[in-house]
């Protein structure tokens, strides 16, 4: 058992335990804390999967941005009775039964698939060797960086697939989804600012509509 295995089990237990604690606790502030634990441990799992850029983005965007936004929401709405809101015990038992059966269904269907065989069949004519993939195709472990290949893929150039091959047709990149996501973010920011703006009261509107000639 290497140090990577130990790290995997630590992060996996923290991620799964944090997620279960989010479900089980009733205090919304503690739910936010356990969500931070779960998402941060998932970033650690990303690092263990050689996905350094995705792990960094998870830490920066999710833990640093989205969760801070959620905690602002908790602070703005958690007043008095809304900090602890409990469901019926009967509903909790029903949800537990459904959760266990759903987890059993997913786990059994995952275990039934032979992923090695699927990888070999979907790899194409070259075949698939994970170590060779890591060493040759992209992110050589000694440099330990996927950010250059991911940035080139977002610009539409697949250096991880096309570099060093003799083919004349290039692999498709992600330029159009990247642009769509950027426009989508702009629209979302405008929409969120519009939805969350401070409402003007009726008196204010009447005051502003009077032609008094005062400076706005």
């Amino acid at each position: 058992m290497t140090i990577l295995d130990v790290l995997f089990w630590v992060y996996a237990l923290a991620a799964a335990g944090g997620a279960i604690a989010v479900v089980l606790t009733h205090n919304v502030v503690r739910m936010a804390f356990w969500l931070i634990v779960s998402l941060g441990s998932t970033a650690g799992l990303f690092f263990l999967l050689n996905a350094d850029f995705v792990g960094t983005a998870q830490l920066l965007v999710y833990v640093g941005g989205t969760l801070v936004l959620l905690i602002f929401g908790v602070m703005l709405t958690a007043s008095g009775p809304f900090i602890n809101m409990r469901t019926n015990p009967g509903e909790g038992v029903l949800a537990g039964v459904i959760a266990v059966s759903l987890l059993a269904a997913i786990a059994s269907s995952v275990c039934r698939v032979d992923w090695e065989d699927v990888s070999q069949r979907t790899a194409g004519p070259r075949g698939f060797n994970p170590q060779q993939e890591l060493a040759e195709r992209y992110y050589p472990p000694q440099s330990g960086s996927t950010s250059r290949a991911i940035g080139a893929a977002l610009l539409g150039v697949r250096v991880d697939r096309d570099l060093g091959t003799a083919r004349t047709n290039l692999s498709p990149g992600y330029l159009l989804p990247f642009e769509i996501a950027s426009v989508h973010l702009l629209v979302v920011l405008v929409g969120a600012a519009y939805l969350a703006r401070a409402k003007r009261r009726v008196n204010d509107r009447r005051d502003s509509e009077e032609p008094t000639g005062t400076q706005r």
Binding site: D5, F8, V22, T42, L49, L67, V188, L195
Partner: protein, 103 residues
């Protein structure tokens, strides 16, 4: 104890997914429902990155998980604005009270 492989990562992702589903279904706090959505998206992300490591999916899985992260941030911003608007109008965050459109 079996060696760490694709199945263990998929199992962790399944736990995150199921926890998020239960959180969405049982929480009465609107912010709690949003946290359930984040858990579900995170479980899907873990599956994508695990497939990109252990199958020929390659870098595509990591790019898709980046898109999921970005869209989850956008979704959280809009949903939080809606939740704050609901709180301003109804003075509660209980999603069971949001029955204005009930016929």
């Amino acid at each position: 104890m079996q060696a760490v492989g694709l199945n263990t990562y998929l199992f962790i992702g399944a736990i995150l997914f199921v926890a998020g589903i239960v959180c969405m279904a049982t929480k009465r706090n609107g912010i709690g429902v949003l946290m359930g959505v984040e858990l579900v998206l995170n479980g899907a992300n873990l599956n994508f990155v695990a497939f990109s490591r252990y199958t020929p999916l390659g870098l595509d899985g990591q790019v898709i998980s980046l898109f999921v992260i970005v869209l989850a941030a956008a979704e959280a911003a809009v949903a939080l604005a809606i939740a704050l608007n609901f709180y301003n109008n109804h003075l509660t965050i209980d999603v069971d009270r949001a029955d204005d459109l009930r016929g």
